[in-house]
């Protein structure tokens, strides 16, 4: 059975589980994104239109229709982090990855994104990589963290 079929079976067959399904599917893949084929399969399973599935997938920031790297690096851009130097963090991450916001590194390992507030303002500046949030960062620390991901592959 395919990864998607397994995920669909985890919840009742009811379209209110669409977002849960899309999130789980992304988590299960090496490249966190939803493909056109998957949209068609999900739509067929729930008996809804593919447009309905892709409109939901494009509405939410954590879901992506574009291929992304294995690790999505989200740098918080909102005021509490900004007040604590998030612009330097963003520059350091750009330098460490060698790519700009919205881009994926050539080796397909990282995609750089900006994010709205992560709710971690007591540890600002904060960065979320995959499903882990790092806090109280400076340029040096965030570069070391990225190196760690690179070495671990």
């Amino acid at each position: 059975m395919s990864v998607l079929q397994n995920i669909l079976k985890q919840n009742p067959k009811s379209e209110d589980y669409l977002i849960e399904t899309l999130l789980s599917l992304q988590d299960a893949k090496d490249e966190p994104c939803i493909s056109e084929e998957e949209i068609a399969d999900i739509a067929e399973y729930y008996g809804i239109s593919p447009t309905r599935v892709s409109s939901v997938a494009s509405f939410y920031t954590l879901l992506s229709l574009r291929p992304r790297g294995k690790h999505v690096v989200q740098v918080c851009r909102d005021v509490p982090c900004y007040l604590n130097g998030s612009e330097n963090i963003l520059e350091a991450v750009k330098e460490a990855l060698g790519c700009d916001i919205g881009e994926t590194t050539a080796d397909g390992l990282f995609t750089l994104e900006e994010t709205s507030c992560l709710g971690n303002c007591d540890g600002s500046p904060s960065v979320r990589i995959g499903k882990k949030t790092y806090e109280n960062l400076d340029s040096q620390k965030v570069k070391e963290i990225i190196s760690g991901y690179r070495e671990a592959k």
Partner: protein, 415 residues
């Protein structure tokens, strides 16, 4: 200055151990509640004058009463844990340090309203909160606080977690409800309110994490004793989130009435690195920006405290930078359903960029003021209605600094 009720167990219990919670008085309020009449519970919450802690300050007992009065018997209890307003992080602390009091408050609400199903909608970025609450729910189920015939009192109730997926607007009640239904998070016109037609168009009581977490404490101490804490308009305690250029960032619990100024000076230990205070923003990205001489105001529902964020900004901060950053946040987070919010935020960003670049005119400023007025008055939901508040209040407190940034050109007559 602090008064720890909701945060009393923080650091003292293992949040992943229901036994720790029970040993420290947990689920005693539920045990007592199931021996009470529904009306008596509602009376206690009314006497306590509990109001919503997510920012809207709506009296909780009215929602409970409304649900009980509905003909429709399928009812839902929904907890809003989609904390996404910049500067707010107290719900994360509540869920990660003491998750069961929120769950207990939901179960008591379910018993009171005969709802059989609940949802906790947690923002997708709160990976750890989701893990802790999932474990807490499993333990509550195992102990018989959730499931069939709870405590032998003949009522069934269970709770499901729904994960957000990165949309600030889903903290708005109807956007959240749409999201639970598996749709894009776009608000609905009101009325009908969620208590009449919420999740799947059924009566729904939707509250913030902190609101639910207050309910067991109210039943434990009694509504009367609870109402002795706080001020005339605002009873009980408030969790505040201190952030920005402040020495001691974090979540603190204070009785309503403590002043913003004192909270910053004493709990936050003042501005970081001995710098001078430039401005304070209350409630988060959508709240008022105040100059230092206006922060000696009480933390209460009459002073725009919202969900309790206090963002401190020091002398290095540029008010236009901050306004632009907030405007970009709202432009990105607007759901796009209603025109004033979708277009208004777009134009606020465009015009604030002009101000920042020094190319805006006095006419641009007038357009911004008009836009703000329209957005505040006719946007469909709270997002668009509150997005221009920082601008409107900054024009009061820092108007000169903003006008100084305008281009030194004559304004065109009919622009």
């Amino acid at each position: 200055m602090e008064k720890r009720i909701l945060t009393a167990r923080f650091g003292k219990i293992d949040p992943l151990s229901i036994d720790d919670y029970i040993k420290n008085g947990g689920y005693e309020a539920l045990e007592a509640a199931v021996k009470m009449e529904s009306d008596t519970i509602i009376d206690e919450i009314e006497t306590a004058k509990l109001r919503g802690r997510g920012g809207a300050a709506f009296p909780t007992f009215i929602k409970l009463k409304a649900l009980v009065g509905e003909k429709e018997k399928t009812r839902y209890i929904v907890c809003n844990a989609d904390e996404g307003e910049p500067g707010n992080f107290k719900d994360r602390h509540l869920m990660e340090n003491d998750p069961h009091q929120m769950i207990e408050g939901m179960i008591i609400s379910a018993y009171t309203t005969k709802a059989k199903k609940g949802y906790i909608y947690i923002r997708g970025e709160y990976d750890h909160s989701i893990a802790v609450v999932r474990e807490a729910l499993a333990q509550a189920r195992e102990k018989g606080y959730l499931g069939k015939n709870i405590l032998g009192a003949g009522f069934d109730f269970d709770i499901e977690i729904r994960s957000g997926a990165g949309a600030y607007v889903c903290g708005e009640e109807f956007a959240l409800i749409e999201s639970i239904e598996g749709k894009s998070g776009r608000s609905r016109p009101k009325p009908p309110f969620p208590t009449t037609a919420g999740v799947f168009m059924k009566p729904t009581m939707l509250n913030n994490v902190e609101t639910f977490a207050n309910i067991p404490h109210i039943l434990e101490m009694g509504g009367k004793a609870y109402a002795k804490i706080g001020t005339e308009s605002s009873k009980g305690t408030k969790l505040i989130s201190l952030s920005g250029n402040i020495a001691n960032r974090g979540v603190f619990e204070v009785p309503f009435g403590v002043s913003v100024k004192d909270a910053i000076a004493k709990l936050g230990r003042g501005v970081a690195d001995g710098r001078k205070l430039k401005m304070v923003q209350l409630s988060g990205a959508s709240g008022p920006i105040l100059p230092p001489e206006k922060i000696d105001v009480p933390i209460d529902f009459d002073h725009d405290i919202g969900a309790g964020a206090i963002i401190v900004m020091d002398e290095r901060t540029d008010v236009v930078d901050i306004l632009l950053r907030h405007a970009e946040f709202f432009e990105h987070e607007s759901c796009g359903k209603c025109t004033p919010c979708r277009e208004g935020n777009l134009h606020l960003v465009r015009l604030l960029r002009k101000v920042q670049a020094g190319s805006a005119t006095a006419d641009d400023l007038r357009v911004m003021e008009n836009l703000a007025d329209v957005m505040i008055n006719v946007s469909l939901c709270g997002l668009g209605q509150s997005a221009p508040i920082p601008l409107a209040t900054a024009l009061d407190g820092f108007g000169d600094q903003i006008r100084d940034r305008l281009a030194q050109t004559e304004t065109k007559e009919n622009a």
